[in-house]
């Protein structure tokens, strides 16, 4: 174990972390926007709603590896000179957006329609209703599955190693190819992933128990 091996591991760790953060944040923003668009009910928005429905359906039912390959090869054949990191970040953002859109849409739908009407009666604008009435109530429904998704999401970034992103998994492969014992290397990699995702899943459990929705059984 030399200094450079440690650097490689550290760089891989940071790459995975940044990839997950970028994808997750972009996914939250796009997913929220998509959920709002799918929540509209005017006739004019019907094609947008249909398109977003298909988007959410498809990206949640295609394996991440296939999405990654598809975007990788598509960007190549369109001569867009994207780095493998950019390809991985874009596909992660697209997938996260699809999953989070469903989660957020479910959360928004869990707030009774009366709340919208009451807010309108009180002369709240659309954004005000969202900010002061709907989101505070939808929040507790949205948060637990979001944490669950993000924990799975961090682990999914491991597949980015397959198109050549130097993430934690790739770093492990390099170290193994250098002749280090495979069980040791992959054991270390597993522990490093655990280090990343365990705090998040603990936080998720805490949030879930604090915001526990009263369930009528």
């Amino acid at each position: 174990m030399t200094y450079y091996d440690l650097r490689l591991l550290l760089d891989g760790f940071l790459t995975t972390l940044i990839l997950a953060l970028l994808g997750g944040l972009a996914g939250c923003v796009i997913g929220f926007a998509a959920a709002l668009l799918r929540n509209t009910d005017s006739r004019a928005m019907a094609p947008v709603r249909a398109a977003l429905f298909v988007y959410c359906l498809v990206f949640r039912r295609v394996p991440f590896l296939v999405t990654l390959m598809l975007i990788f090869f598509a960007s190549q054949s369109m001569q867009a000179n994207l780095s493998t990191f950019a390809v991985a970040a874009i596909s992660l953002a697209l997938i996260a957006a699809a999953y989070l859109c469903e989660i957020i849409r479910g959360g928004l739908a869990s707030v009774h329609a009366n709340q919208w009407q009451a807010a309108r009666a009180l002369n709240f604008g659309y954004w005000q209703t969202l900010r002061y009435v709907i989101v505070p109530q939808a929040w507790r429904v949205i948060l637990p599955p979001t944490f669950g998704f993000l924990v799975m999401f961090i682990k999914d970034t491991a597949l980015a190693s397959q198109i050549g992103v130097m993430d934690l998994t790739s770093a492990g492969k390099v170290l193994e190819n250098k002749g280090m014992s495979a069980p040791l290397v992959y054991g270390t990699i597993l522990m490093l992933y655990f280090l990343m995702s365990y705090p998040l899943s603990r936080l998720g459990k805490r949030v879930e128990s604090r915001h526990a929705v009263t369930r009528h059984r």
């Binding site: 295609v62 590896l65 492969k173």
Partner: protein
Amino acid sequence: MTLQFGPILEQWPYLLGGAWLSLQIAVLAFACGMLIGMVCASILHQGPRLLRRPVAAYITFATNTPQLVQIFFLFFGLPTMGIILSPFAAVLLGATFNAGAYLSEILRAGFASVRRTELEAAQVLGFSRAQSLRYVVIPHVIKTMLPPLSNQFIVMTLGTSMASIFGVEELTGRTENLAAQTYLSVEAFGVAAVMYVALTLLATGVLALCARSGNRTR
């Protein structure tokens, strides 16, 4: 950029064979994972206290580390300890290890959703233990657990695409072969994506039908 789907669609039976293998891996791993899940969930629910900690540790570890790296460990790590697995066995073992943990969480939640009063009511009505299991517990548990179970099955079906990394020729693996032969990568993966959507929609439909027939005894 022009897309040519013809040469890929000609190879459609080849891809379908791959999809069949994907489904087999998913079903096998789901069945084995279900067994592990049953045992682990029963232990967590009301098993001996001594065993609860290791089971909880297994679930925490398996759900917080990537399945890909777990399979890497099995496939590349175990041979140095003298255990040599075929790619198929390594993938199946990894998928089962992962599925077992998720399924035990789902089953545990399902068991916890049965209230004691429900069982007492069944007892008062003169149901035997087996009868109350058959007519009270199982219909109830199936109803609450089916959505997460079917979701888990979909996730596992998508997870089988990892097998291609280890050289198993399932849908993704065969798509890669086809892409390499024809140089039509975008088209090949596009067709594979559509097939995955169809496969998972089919699985959702079949599971929903199962649920409906299971719920008829209410």
